[in-house]
Symmetry: C2
Subunit: 389 residues, 2 copies
């Protein structure tokens, strides 16, 4: 039995007149001042969310706990046994599906590389204040579930539906807007099979962990993480484009020149990126690497949401000259990262290693990062400082 605590008296605002509202806890987006360090709010996000320690790029499938996690609000307390996924709106037969119902559909497993759209944000100058990722917001998992198109076929999508809206159980406030986390996909994407979107109930062969959407999440191969709605509880077919916060306010590319009312461009597919397992061993604090002179094997992973990775190049002189690395073929896993490797001959002194991926569509990584207000899709090449001695 719980004990009781007497409540303190409510406070009024500074004019002593109005009752507070939920908007009071939520500030508009902002850009850090020149030279401003990471602030306490950004630190609180960095402490609860986490990236992939880069040495974990050595694993083709990321072990549990090393895959990146971004949670907008709180991880909901989910009861898998009582969970019900509603499918409604512009459908002929609204559905309410429990986990057993979903497991009765054919099960499909896809190996998918997932990346946060904000990866790289903390390297921007000036820095948009939000989750401060450097380069590590990525991971690859085997996701098992039901193809979304099969569930939508069962419900019968009406001809006037243009989008499917996905609602998660996570609830919070963002820039003054109280909301359930909610995102949409065009009907053609939701009912298509390239990529095949999943309603996933397992990750690496086990039920979804709480932080990855237990008991159900969307998996949209090739798209940045914001599309993979976690703790999925409702799918609503709608006859007009969805205008919710995460669709038209957040997750848009807006340039410095755009006004505050500029709609920007939607964030969708993952831009190409290669990352390296930092060679040698690190200093605890600076993370600078130390290697011995001679041949140093370099390896890592590369991926793109726009197609296979065609080419990975490595530079040991800060991007002045590049050498091609070996890249594995995508093979049976078209939506997963590809391994690359090469050998670098280290000589005594300080070096900066750089790696760059180019996909089959010709997309590649910039050496100077373009800037956008939200800090999305930042695929500036990785820089790995190394001392050879």
């Amino acid at each position: 039995m719980a004990a009781a605590v007497a409540g303190a008296h409510g406070t009024r605002d500074h004019e002593g007149m109005e009752q507070p509202s939920a908007q009071d806890v939520s500030a508009p987006g902002r850009i850090a001042s020149p030279g401003e360090g990471i602030d306490p709010q950004e630190l609180a996000l960095a402490a609860r969310n986490h990236g992939l320690p880069l040495e974990a790029l050595r694993y083709e499938v990321t072990p549990p706990g090393l895959h990146y996690v971004l949670v907008h609000y709180d991880i909901p307390a989910a009861d898998p046994a009582g969970w019900s996924l509603g499918v409604g709106g512009r459908v002929r037969t609204p559905l309410a599906l429990g986990l057993a119902d979903l497991r009765a559909f054919p099960a499909v497993t896809h190996r998918v590389t997932m990346e946060c759209a904000g990866n790289g944000r903390a390297r921007l100058t000036p820095r948009p204040v939000s989750q401060p990722w450097l380069v590590e917001a990525v991971g690859t998992a085997e996701w098992t579930g039901v193809p979304l198109r099969l569930v939508l076929a069962e419900a019968g999508v009406r001809a006037d539906a243009v989008e499917a809206v996905f609602t998660g159980a996570d609830h919070g406030i963002e820039r003054g807007v109280e909301q359930d986390y909610r995102r949409s996909l065009p009907v053609a994407t939701a009912t298509g099979d390239d990529p095949e979107v999943l309603i996933a109930y397992a990750m690496n062969g086990l039920p979804l962990p709480p932080q990855h959407g237990c008991p159900l999440r969307l998996v949209v191969p090739g798209w940045y993480g914001m599309a993979h709605v976690k703790w999925l509880r409702e799918i609503t077919l709608v006859d007009a484009p969805f205008t919710g916060f995460q669709q038209v306010v957040a997750y848009r590319y807006r340039s410095a020149a755009d006004g505050p009312d500029d709609p920007g461009e939607p964030v969708t597919l993952i831009a190409p990126r290669a990352l390296m397992v930092p060679p040698g061993f690190p200093d605890f604090m600076s993370r600078t690497r130390v290697v011995r002179p001679g041949p140093v094997p370099l390896e890592g992973r590369a991926w793109s949401g726009h197609g296979a990775v065609d080419r990975v190049e490595v530079s040991a002189d800060g991007g002045r000259s590049w050498a091609r690395a070996e890249v594995t073929a995508p093979g049976r896993h078209p939506w997963a990262w590809q391994a690359w490797s090469c050998v670098w001959t280290a000589t005594p002194g300080h070096h900066t290693l750089t790696v760059r991926a180019t996909d089959t569509e010709g997309g590649t990584q910039p050496l100077e990062q373009p800037w956008n207000r939200g800090g999305f899709g930042n695929n500036l090449v990785q820089h790995v400082p190394v001392l050879c001695c």
Copy 2:
């Protein structure tokens, strides 16, 4: 097959004379300037290590991926099949034990709450620059393994042994000292059964994940995390107190008044702490909580390495008045956190909730944080800003 990259020429130091050394990548410890935000090196640590999202305090045993992780250097690439744990030094029979050998000993499972000694460091003023934890560097797991005392009995500890030194496979540099991660315990602790120290090979019933020490780690119930050596590959009995970096340089309590050569006091047992599941729902960026007026159930966990938690108190007025919460008895798990709960009657306005644990030894949490140079053992009470509206 890997391609080859031509090495850039080595660089000389700024005087053009000397070859670089590994010390060049490693700076002395430092204290942040007044008002200095989290720097890029601290951010890099925060992005790769991670805490427990506070809502995960709802789980009595922390699910995989939510338990805090601190890795000094890199997670080693371990091969469990070929792993060998050496036991040597001042013993009668040196041992080399594979995983099968260890599994042939009696298996014991202990539920243990583990906390990083640096938890709370980022709330200190001024802030020691290192892994910038707020309050979330904690977790509770079921650890299964062999009691260390049984392995040491098999080796036969010689009468002149005073400490056991534990060596991990993680290698790096810290403040200019290249090292394998290495810590010691007094022989009485290593061979004792209160607490019973484990050589653990499983966490929550599964083989250790890479980031938690795969395939072997030490578990020292009641001690801060630095004692629980991960990727354990060597146990060496020694006839003089161990003077390695992690024992006599790092992980010492040193006050502001102490000189740089002051040995300080060793960091050992976990100080008492209570944490609350933040009630209501959050703002994404500020993490401020929103609740509705009326009774609000509050719950959380409390622990101490010095004994059971005797009392948990909650304040809704910033620490002026306190009310007792209900606390579960430690029961069958003396080294795990205890659950606490109470009900707070929320009234409209801004509030700060605070919770404080006191253990059976009389140890409790400060309302004003004492300061030490390394930022260790900071158990200042948690503050949870809440808006009721």
